[in-house]
Amino acid sequence: MKLTVNGTEHEIDVEEDMPLLWVLRDELGITGVKYGCGIAQCGACTVHVDGVAVRACQLAVGDLSGEVTTIEGLGTPETLHAVQEAWVAHQVAQCGYCQSGQIMQAASFLDLNAAPSDDQIDAAMSGNLCRCGTYPRIRAAIKTAAAKLQEV
């Protein structure tokens, strides 16, 4: 089976029903994507498939059609994506474990809705749990990122 992650094609030999999350983490060693709940309740495993946020714990790799982007493919410490820049500027993270998923969710959401209202932000981000409670900064960072993305 072939899959493309962050622009690189990989050949893998796994069961069709293995969730993409575990293919990424345990077969390909891509650990920015996190396991939190395994049942679509926390968003820690959020990645993009063709630019759209999906929960990698829920997507059987056999059902995958499209290119996968993980947080590592969104931006790097040297070249941050605008959403990551906003996350750094607002110093959002506490433990940080949820933040890959938060950032991937926010990036996809802003792609679809460049100028979201507060209610739209709340609705789009409520599937991503943050046990540390960084929500006020997530809201602020999304607004900063939206403004930045509109400039370019």
Binding site: D26, G29, G36, I39, Q91, G96, Y97, C98, C130, C132
Partner: protein, 746 residues
């Protein structure tokens, strides 16, 4: 005593004895202090100034032994050392170091003694000193009790200052210039002519001279880093998916494992049938354990999947199987026999209630789970003479000792590589992941095993927050609260926990009444008694521990009395408050929230003041009762911490504490049925999600001489302030958490 005086006294101590809290400061040319763990692998040219600072030709390494649970402990500890060492944060690397008695926690003991934290009387101070000594003997390297800042504040600045002055002495020896004429900046000693000698090049020389221990700490007006907004050291990694947590550890030859232990916690596994795992891809081994069954596979998901195919027989729970019976036991605990201690009795409550119009109420707080977002995990490799463990833990020394005992090895043979944690909230004070990973790894010697708990297993095996009740009686006269009598009965999370640590706790449990008995109010007749409910389901420290329940009981019931008296909740608290720090945090939230200003229809404000871990914290919550349910609009919070070390993280952690307190009070409980927790994943116990999050305004007050941590204190006032706000908006008095069993939230 003013802050200046405090520092002067401390620098004298350092100068004369070169000792602070029993830790010797100085360079270590030879193994003069077996307690300095940095000596173990020091080589020629390494200047190992003390257990926290190592400088050599290739760089500056600061040891930050308090575990980073997300509270920013690593950055905070580095900042304190760097402040006095005169290095910039981008010039250093940090390491959690190895577990060592040198990193024992001098501050934790302060909360373990039965004196109020604002009680500076002789016996209280002496007793805290004794506990500090005990901690040292135990080598208790502990991250918990909001003590990372207080434990570190003086110690780590001194560690930096000693290293700096020794480097200056080295430069003086090298150049012949008097040390008094030398200054330091950006990782270098600066000569009078402006020439710079980098610390890294001076290190070899510094390693050969006598330590300079006659140092004093800088005046706060000179601080470059402390109290200033700086970028957290881990913020880029945590925004790019490049931060490695325990669960991300990978190494050559590693296998993956997962476990199902008896969900009736503490009871054994009695038999299993793994026939259906036969031939499942990637499954390498099924391991029967006294308490459960583990699967070793070549991939985590394959281990998870195989676990589901195993039929397992479990013994019955060693506690009541049904939740209702847990409550029966709690309710039956208000007896003379179970009285743990009468913690406070001002005036004469019985006489005051005699013939008064007595108001009574009963409060309840449920079990609640910790469930940080990173599930429990550990990587363990067991060799014949050496065991390596990669995991995040708040008690690294205990991990070593426990594993040594489990495998009948020496403590020195157990190597814990402490990791960044994806949250804890008290969860990583327990050992289940370590125990299981060690047992499983023991089955496949010399092979690194990564054990990952399924989220469902993590819920099933959590040691929850204590369950409890309170019964209040009170009275008022002339529009004032005059009598408050509070009986609190909870299980003792501290005893449950210390039993598992193998160090049974003597004396009464300070945590049962924490946040209530130490209320900073002068109510003429005031009594707080604590009753210990015998162990039910095992419990453990949950962010803010006892104050998360007793604080709710006390501030909820006080609010009832204030309303019954016809007084204003803020004004009456300000009238009753008997301590300046507490008064100031109340005044702060009154001002921030514009208390008393007009509210819209169906809106209400509530206030609460709870002191925990020595930090008086006041919160005002504002809610609106909409047709769809209660909306939590805004929260204002003020805490007296003596000194805000890292303001950016401070604001984040305080707001997070408010969210933690509110979210669990609103939406979360663990209930038992058939001996098992009924909630097994976040859809059944989610705390707060973003859409419910109010706007939160945070203020840190810095009037006190004592520097304190703030990981826990914002939690306890949140629940009562919310309940009090909902009462103000709707007339519904919430006396039982979680509130969603009584009212709807939008």
């Amino acid at each position: 005593m003013g802050r200046g005086k405090t520092i002067a006294r401390r620098s004298f101590l350092i100068g004369s004895a070169a000792i602070l809290g029993g830790v010797a400061f100085g360079t270590y040319l030879v193994k003069r202090d077996p307690e300095n763990p940095l000596l173990a692998d020091a080589v020629a040219g390494d200047a190992v100034f003390n257990p926290w600072v190592r400088i050599n030709a290739s760089g500056i390494t600061l040891v930050t032994p308090h575990t980073d649970l997300g509270q920013g402990a690593t950055a905070m500890q580095a900042m304190l050392i760097a402040e006095e060492l005169d290095v910039e944060l981008e010039q250093i690397t940090t390491t959690p170091g190895v577990p060592s008695a040198a990193y024992y926690n001098t501050a934790l003991a302060a909360e373990a003694v039965p004196f109020r934290s604002n009680d500076d009387g002789f016996s209280a101070t002496a007793m805290r000193g004794t506990m500090g000594a005990v901690m040292k003997v135990l080598g208790a390297q502990v991250t918990g009790g909001s003590t990372a800042v207080p434990d570190s504040f003086d110690k780590l600045r001194l560690a930096g200052a000693v290293a700096r002055e020794t480097l200056k002495a080295a430069a003086a020896a090298e150049t012949g210039i008097d040390a008094a004429q030398l200054t330091t900046a950006r990782g270098a000693v600066v000569l009078p002519d402006g020439a710079r000698m980098d610390y890294t090049t001076l290190a070899a020389r510094a390693a050969q001279i006598e330590p300079v221990t006659n140092v004093s700490l800088r005046d706060p007006s000179q601080w470059r880093l402390i109290g200033k907004p700086v970028q957290r050291l881990d913020i880029i990694a945590k925004s790019t998916g490049t931060q490695i947590y325990g669960i991300d550890i990978w190494m050559e030859g590693m296998v993956h494992a997962s476990v199902r232990s008896n969900p009736r916690k503490g009871a054994p596994m009695t038999g299993f049938d793994a026939a259906r795992t036969e031939g499942m891809r990637g499954v390498q081994k099924i391991v029967g354990l006294p308490y459960g069954v583990a699967v070793i596979a070549d991939n985590t998901w394959r281990a998870f999947r195989a676990l589901e195919e195993i039929d397992i027989d479990w013994d019955i729970a060693p506690y009541p199987a049904e939740q209702a019976d847990h409550w029966v036991e709690v309710a039956a605990s208000f007896t003379k026999e179970r009285l743990d201690r009468e913690w406070r009795h001002d005036g004469d409550v019985d006489a005051a209630l005699e013939g008064a119009d007595v108001i009574t109420a009963e409060y309840r707080a449920p079990y609640v789970a910790h469930q940080p977002l990173e599930p429990l995990s550990a990587v363990v490799k067991v060799g014949a003479t050496r065991v390596d463990i990669w995991a995040a833990h708040q008690l690294p020394r205990f991990v070593q000792q426990r594993v040594a005992k489990r495998l009948d090895m020496d403590t020195e043979q157990i190597h814990l590589h402490n990791q960044f944690a994806g949250g804890s909230f008290g969860h990583r004070l327990e050992f289940d992941n370590i125990d299981v990973a060690v047992d499983v790894a023991h089955e496949v010697p010399d092979t690194p095993v990564k054990l990952t708990f399924r989220r469902e297993e993590d819920f099933a095996q959590d040691y929850n927050r204590q369950i409890g009740m309170a019964r209040g009686r009170g009275a008022h006269a002339d529009g004032k609260v005059t009598v408050l009598d509070l009986d609190i009965a909870t299980v003792s999370a501290s005893r449950s926990q210390s039993r598992r640590l193998g160090a049974p706790m003597p004396g009464p449990d300070t945590q049962i009444p924490a946040g209530a008995w130490n209320m900073r109010y002068a109510i003429p007749d005031l009594r707080v008694r604590a009753y210990a409910v015998p162990e039910l389901a095992p419990t453990s420290s949950w962010r803010s521990v006892g104050a998360s329940t007793a604080g709710f009981f006390a501030e909820g019931f006080l609010d009832e009395l204030i309303h019954a008296a016809g007084a204003d909740p803020m004004e009456e608290r300000l009238r009753l408050v008997n301590d300046d720090d507490a008064r100031r945090v109340l005044e702060a939230v009154a001002e921030m929230s514009n208390w008393g200003s007009a509210l819209g229809p169906n809106q209400g404000r509530g206030v609460a003041l709870v002191t925990s871990f020595g930090v008086p914290t006041a919160e005002v919550v504002e809610v609106t009762a909409t047709d769809a349910g209660i909306k939590v609009d805004r929260v204002w919070v003020a805490a007296e911490v003596g000194r805000v070390v890292d303001p950016v993280t401070f604001e984040n952690v305080v707001a997070g504490g408010v969210i933690w307190g509110l979210g669990h009070a609103m939406n979360s409980e663990i209930t038992y049925s058939d001996g098992m927790a009924e909630q097994d994943n976040y859809h059944m116990a989610e705390g707060m999600r973003l859409h419910q999050c109010p706007v939160i305004e945070v203020r840190g007050l810095e009037n006190s001489d004592t520097v304190r941590g703030v990981g826990e204190p914002p939690v306890p006032p949140a629940a009562p302030a919310l309940a009090n706000a909902i009462f103000a908006a709707t007339g519904t008095r919430l006396r039982e958490m979680p509130f969603f069993n009584t009212v709807d939230f939008v």
